[in-house]
Amino acid sequence: MTLRELLKATVGALLAAPFLQLFRKKEETGYYWQIDPDKCIQCGKCETECVLPRSAVKCVHQYASCGYCLFCSGYYQDKRVEFNTAGENLRCPTDAIVRTYVEDPYFEYKIDEDKCIGCGKCVKGCASFGNGSLFLQVRRHLCKDCNECRIAKVCPSGAFTRVPADKPYIFRRPPEVKS
């Protein structure tokens, strides 16, 4: 490559550089619908009122707040027979909570979003006895961003709220842990 060609290529690249801006991820502006976990009463409307065939509202798990207990009240239903993974013991109607043994005495709970229907049954169980680490959120990659969210219109506790697009989720305050 001659010096002339190198100069041409450099100038060409510099002239083309502004076009790269087109591919840069833009900062999101505006507002999204989201659920305030402290106001949510797990009424079940998130499952049935969303315009999507399967609701964009899913259970999410805030691991920092979880106790990783053997007996998770979000995982096990009130009339469980035994503390194992048999269907009759579980609270989730679609088996969307995946439980994995970590090490004694801890178990990890993950949400399988493909199965979760946003009914909030596990959230109610977790809020009743546990740390409240399970809660419902509108998942951004699924939401159609209807300007007039149908769930927000019928939410009985006013838990649906607008949040800035750059902070689209509302987290729970993790429990205080002595360092």
Partner: protein
């Protein structure tokens, strides 16, 4: 001719193949992938519960060369006080007008994370703490009036944090302090100098299973005997000699009840003195010689923390959390044979219930703070007549909610700790709960450890610290 036959056959085959293909395409249904919700899908078959040999009481530290402790009039010798009812019997008036500063704090101490409660005896405070840096359970002895630590008797017990570590309340009698640690290690020490008297590992000796979130049972001392709900492979309850630890009697465990967080209760039902233990799988009773009297397996919560409460000569109030609610257990005695049956049961939304703390019985009225699954009544203090259960007589209202914290009754008022370390004082008058005072008395959260009270002093804790409040009026000191 052969060519023609071959041609027809070929065409027929083509048509048949095409028909078969179309038929298959039309009728084919993608098989559904079914995940069977079978019992073991979480890897729990590989669960290994580490068992380590513990030399209970192996370490002793003395902090004060000066062993003279100022005498103090008043005791809180065990879980729920001397009568195990959480009712303070003395007539001493307590200060309730605290002002902006709150009640006087005599001293504060940092603790390992947990919910264990203190006892008071001989002017000393005893607490089974967990020493985080040393991975040890430790019986810590403090001087009541100064908070100075006198000694520690500890032993290695490297357990992982599972909603805190410490849980239980020691028991004191005849200058002996008995503790039951989170891993069911029983230790008896001399209350004055901390000398180890005897010890017992309930897992090793009886093959019991540690309950979820570690053992929460508080030992019972009765007539020189230590009574424990063991829930072992063969033994359900056991009595050990207070001074020597020698086994005095054991009750069999044919129903395979397991250890719960509930503590053994000593009471008289149908005119017979008995020890009652609410284990996982049922509730049972034996006489003072360990002879089984009755068992009831028709009400069996998965987690059982509050102790059964006698509300009539033949009636027990049972309550537990995690969806269980409450029940009434009637005990019948016919021709020397006991029988126990569940008479009525209800969910927390329908009547009084508790998850952790044992309710109070004052006269014929039951007082309890409702659990989180009690609907609109959650965390409210409620009152109910024992003759009209589960009907409620009064509630503290939605503006007065407390949580899982402890409460006791002293100087005609309820002293209630909420989850965030606020101490609330409420009076019950004319079927109404009236707030007298409230103040944040401990800095942390999860203030669930039961309260100890003696002579106007109150020991309270949050998850990581303990405080001694002086509630005595100036003229009464």
């Amino acid at each position: 001719m052969i060519e023609r036959i071959f041609d027809i056959a070929l065409r027929t085959m083509f048509v048949l193949t095409a028909c078969a293909g179309i038929w298959h395409y039309v009728s084919f249904v993608t098989p559904r992938v079914v995940d069977y919700a079978v019992p073991v899908r979480d890897g729990s078959e590989f669960r290994v519960i580490k068992k380590m040999t513990t030399k209970i009481g192996e370490t002793f530290k003395s902090f004060s060369a000066e062993s003279i402790v100022k005498p103090f009039d008043g005791e809180w010798p065990c879980f729920r006080g001397a009568k195990r009812d959480n009712l303070v019997q003395e007539d001493r008036p307590l200060t309730k007008n605290w002002g902006a500063e709150g009640p006087k704090v005599m001293w504060r101490k940092e603790l390992g994370e947990g919910y264990s409660g203190a006892i008071i005896a001989q002017g000393r405070v005893y607490l089974l703490d967990y020493l985080e840096k040393e991975d040890s359970d430790a019986l810590r002895c403090f001087e009541l009036l100064t908070g100075n630590e006198l000694w520690q008797r500890s032993y290695k017990n490297p357990i992982r944090r599972n909603h805190g570590k410490s849980r239980t309340i020691p028991a004191y009698a005849d200058n002996v302090v008995v503790t039951l640690g989170p891993a069911a290690h029983v230790m008896a020490t001399d209350a004055t100098n901390g000398d180890l008297l005897w010890s017992c590992d309930l897992v090793e000796q009886y093959g019991c299973e540690i309950p979820q979130w570690y053992a929460g049972q508080c030992p019972l001392i009765e007539n020189g005997n230590v009574i424990l709900g063991v829930g072992g492979e063969k033994v359900l309850m056991a009595a050990l000699d207070l001074k020597t630890g020698k086994t005095l009697w054991e009750t069999p465990n044919p129903d395979h009840l397991k250890m719960s967080h509930s503590s053994v209760v000593s009471t008289k039902l149908c005119g017979v003195e008995q020890f009652i233990y609410a284990g996982i799988g049922g509730i049972t009773a034996c006489d003072h010689d360990g002879k089984p009297l009755w068992t009831c397996k028709s009400w069996k919560p998965a987690v059982w923390a509050p102790t059964p409460l006698k509300i009539a000569d033949d009636l027990l109030f049972l309550t537990a959390g995690y969806g269980a609610g409450s029940a009434l257990l009637r005990v019948h005695l016919t021709n020397g044979i006991f029988e126990a049956t569940i008479e009525n049961e209800w969910k927390p939304t329908k009547g009084p219930a508790s998850e952790q703390q044992t309710p109070l019985l004052i006269g014929k009225t039951l007082f309890v703070i409702q659990p989180k699954d009690a609907g609109g009544l959650h965390a409210q203090l409620v009152a109910a007549d024992v003759d009209k259960l589960p009907a409620l007589r009064a509630t503290s209202g939605k503006e007065a909610r407390f949580g899982l914290g402890p409460y006791l009754y002293a100087d005609d008022a309820f002293w209630i700790m909420d989850d965030d370390g606020f101490l609330h004082v409420y009076q019950f008058k004319d079927d109404t709960f009236q707030k007298l005072a409230t103040h944040k008395v401990v800095p942390g959260v999860d203030a669930w450890g039961p309260i100890a009270y003696a002579g106007g002093l109150m020991i309270l804790r949050d998850s990581t610290s303990m405080a001694c409040l002086d509630l005595r009026k100036e003229d009464a000191k």
